[in-house]
Symmetry: C2
Subunit: 580 residues, 2 copies
């Protein structure tokens, strides 16, 4: 009916329709060139990014089949292409920032800290060494391999250097001009790094599985060289096996490097177009170390014993069946002790929080929000693996070795991640205590706290570009910002609102010790699987229940997630250590 | 150092330490019994829920292996246990609500609408029929099967009835008392339903795969009965094969029922402890249907032809190789036409939005937020599947049949989901037009709109319990709320702020037609895979590239996600239809 009405009116007033058409087209032009609504622009770019990743995953699935039409060089060409596009975008961004240097750029100071960027640089350096070794290795086979195998590590090395530079100088920027193009560029970078992570995980898994298979058939075929990638011709230099053995040890660092960068870039993407709350105060964190004894001592003990266990496990695994079984028993007992210590530490931390009621800091902080989601999401892998172990333990009618140690170990793994996530997230969301208080035993009712506290003091968001370089006054004049000088550490600016120094009270001291202990324990639990200590393959129990292919899929899915979980919780625990 | 100081002081003042200990314990008690911080309570319950699901997934993975120690009855016992716990919790909640009927209960009116609950009830009825058929079927085998096989459908039927009752009367509640217990109960319900979804998907996949295998070997073994579950003894009644064939047709509805309920319950979980914005207005939506011609006609045409295609496809698939190939060709051509229409419709909708600039509605609405995430997340499955197809098309050195139609179809699938997500989400986030405006061609510059608009008029959140039953005045007196009367449809309350009736303008009319066309097309694209039309298995191209096991895994992962995507977009498009 209404459509008919419209048709009639449009036919009767055909003279005015052309004017109306022009109006509509000019409005359309405005709509297309003007700012795209934020929610939609985010979705537009997120969908682009996820599809990039899926293309890569499809290629990887095709490569996984050995006689496939898709070869590794296709995947390498694709990722090389993505890295080149990212390099071009970063170049454009840097040039654009320099041309707009007179304009104030908002920055989100919570996006990353100096020590995170330092750690990232270290990982990047190790990745660069890996690239160099790879170049050397593939150059030896240049006569029979596609040029892509040499081009890839070269581009990867350039990409690594450029990206670390970008992270140091621009990652905190809140992009406000060319928002849509910026969104696409940043999400492209996020998913390129995620794809590089997936591809590194695949290489590492392949390497591990070939080692595992070699060990299984060790008695029959003793002359297989360890972990050397399959190449169709002979090495032209003498260093091939040395090179290939060396670069496989650097895989874990390269893997963590990529996922770490993509998390940082994701926060940058979430910040695009955001309006930073200018009124909130920032309190700089001063890392105090007095009174730290028990935590570091226990933690270092754990770390040292972990390295011992790793060496013993790896060497014993090459031995006879009895020696292998004893290595696995040793691992489980060690794991149970470690996890018990960690669970007790987290539980004590949570109990202290229950005694000391504090209001939560609900300010917007994409970085912290992401931390929470990553901790939760990346726990899934090892929870699934543990539940599979528990199902195997209860369903197996025979009495295999390590049955009950495996059960206790798996239950503790679930419990440990459960309470550790609670502890870390509660620590990150609690408002910081006002350190001027002197009596540590003052009644701690919530009302008292929320009244005596100064307005939420760790909102953490400030516009660094609006600060004058001496850090004292907040000047909003048109400051000539030098990019080279922007990445000042938070510590340097601590004179803005230096908290009054006061001795740590007992509860905070205990919390600090707990955080440092957990940090070192998480490093230990990262080292073990990262360097090949994976009893899930060696104990045979789950393989019997699920079959080799299903169980290998579960473990190969769970272990990369678990590795990143440990790595990420180390970062979060350091943050906790500085906050409490 | 500080620790030493504390030790000294505590040993010197041992008399005061016991008093202090008591203080600490009383504070601890307060902390444990008092309100747990919201962020942490959410995490606590979410972690519990996800672990429930993972136990189920571990059991399913074990069952997937045919000679496994874990049997189907173990999984059924586990899910039955979970359903009983959920029933007990719902009972407790209902009793608690009745005992507190004098207290006002806040409700989130955006949480669900009448027609969603109506649709859900329909699905539940079909699930109940399935349960009845299952009971009949398994009773026939009672002599040789575990009692669990009969207990499970009985409990499932009770669970379905109780849950539908819960959804009708309590799903909109914003729980404010016993928050932590409430969180655990609701999340338990969410993950119980998700687990039931996974388990139904597994049964359906098994059924489909056995049919598929039967077809492949049809020439050799002609006497296998269709889709009958494997049982260790003979049927005691004559209706067995009829019963088993009937209930497999109801699988798709049961699958959608469970995931739908879990989405609704998830919104309830997100609402727990939330403070609803009382000041915001609500404009009730009146579904206008005048001027709808092209959209419904084209949509119905699509729906009818879909059913034709389904019947032809399924029957032709049983035929010779040439007949099968022609069926597959027919499917792809039909799919390409459908998708082209849908892409054009979405693109037109987005262009209209670009012409007609409107501010976005940024009010908090967990239900809408979830809609966005579900649409995006559930697209992943079919995007991955399409990219795998594209990789196969390009990598295959021979020239298999359907190569180029498959390529175009896959590209269109990606594009269609891309633009449809953009269209739906932009539609849901745009603020509604102020319908009092009469001239549809008034200059539509954004500034004019944001000024002429009354304060954001579809915030959509209101406290129904604070309204008096006659719907006119907003009375905050202690109203005796009758649970039986709470589930008034929004339509009934439309007299609160009835918008002035006005003819639909042209753009809104086009949008309404687009929405209804897309809705019917999405129903069509749900019907095809739900009832067994899956050319991804039949064309053979991807299987050649990826190998059967990898490709079957990808398809079995992607299709359930895609089915839910279609189902969910039907719901969202109906919402769009009412809003525009």
């Amino acid at each position: 009916m209404s459509l008919n009405k419209y048709c009639q009116s449009s036919s009767s007033s055909s003279s005015s329709s052309s004017i109306r058409d022009k109006k509509v087209f000019s409005k359309l032009k405005l709509g297309l060139t003007g700012d795209y609504p934020k929610k939609n622009a985010e979705l537009l770019s997120a969908q682009y990014g996820i599809n990039l990743l899926l293309v890569g995953v499809a290629l990887m699935l095709a490569i996984a089949r050995h006689d496939s039409f898709v070869k590794e060089k296709d995947l390498l060409s694709f990722t090389t292409g993505l890295m080149i596009v990212q390099l071009l975008w970063m170049l454009w961004y840097i040039v654009m920032r320099h041309s707009q240097r007179k304009k104030q750029t908002q920055r989100d100071v919570t996006a990353t800290t100096c020590w995170i960027r330092g750690g990232l640089t270290l990982l990047a350096v190790l990745s660069l060494i890996m690239d160099t070794l790879k170049i050397g290795y593939f150059v030896s086979f240049r006569s029979c391999l596609s040029a892509v195998f040499v081009v890839y590590p070269v581009i990867h090395a350039i990409h690594t250097v450029a990206q670390v530079h970008f992270v140091w100088f621009y990652i905190k920027d809140v992009i406000k001009s060319f928002e849509t193009f910026g969104r696409f560029g940043v999400i492209h970078a996020v998913f390129t790094n995620l794809l590089l992570w997936c591809s590194s995980v695949m290489s590492e898994t392949e390497h591990f599985m070939s080692n595992h298979m070699r060990r299984i058939f060790a008695l029959e075929f003793e002359n297989i060289t360890e972990g050397e990638p399959e190449v169709p011709c002979n090495c032209t230099t003498t260093t091939c096996s040395l090179l290939s053995q060396s670069f496989t040890y650097l895989f874990p660092f390269n893997i963590e490097y990529h996922i770490f960068v993509s998390a940082l870039l994701f926060v940058m993407w979430k910040n695009i177009g955001r309006t930073i709350d200018m009124s909130s105060n920032r309190k700089s964190l001063v890392t105090k170390t007095q009174g730290l004894t028990l935590g570091p001592i226990l933690g270092l003990l754990a770390l040292v014993s972990t390295i011992g266990i790793l060496v013993v496990y790896i060497t014993r695994l090459e031995g006879s069946l009895e020696v292998r079984q004893s290595a696995i028993s040793m691992f489980y007992i060690y794991g149970i002790i470690m996890l018990l210590v960690m669970v007790s530490a987290c539980a004590s931390g949570l109990l202290i929080y229950r005694v000391k009621h504090m209001p939560f800091d609900a300010s917007k902080n994409p970085s912290r929000q992401l931390d929470t989601e990553l901790l939760f999401g990346f726990s899934l892998g090892s929870w699934l693996m543990s539940w599979c172990s528990i199902v195997s333990v209860f369903s197996n009618p025979s009495d295999p070795p390590h049955r009950w140690t495996n059960l206790i170990y798996s239950l503790l793994i679930i419990l440990e991640k459960y309470v550790q996530n609670l502890f870390i997230i509660e620590s990150l969301y609690r408002q910081q205590e006002n350190v001027q208080r002197t009596d540590p035993e003052l009644p701690a009712a919530p009302e008292v706290f929320s009244v005596t506290l100064s307005p939420p003091s760790l909102n953490g968001i400030i516009n660094q570009a609006y600060e004058s370089p001496d850090g004292g006054r907040s000047s909003v004049e048109n400051e000539q910002e030098d990019n080279g000088q922007v990445y000042r550490c938070q510590r340097k600016q601590s004179d803005v609102r230096l908290p009054v120094e006061e001795p740590l009270n007992m509860k905070r001291l205990v919390l600090k010790n707990i955080a440092i202990l957990l940090l070192l324990c998480n490093i230990s639990l990262w080292i073990l699987p990262a360097f090949g200590c994976r009893p899930q393959y060696d104990n045979g129990l789950e393989e019997e229940t699920f079959g080799f292919s299903v169980w290998a899929t579960v473990v190969n899915f769970a272990i990369p997630l678990n590795l990143f979980y440990r790595f990420h919780s180390v970062g979060s625990l350091f943050e906790v250590f500085r906050r409490v």
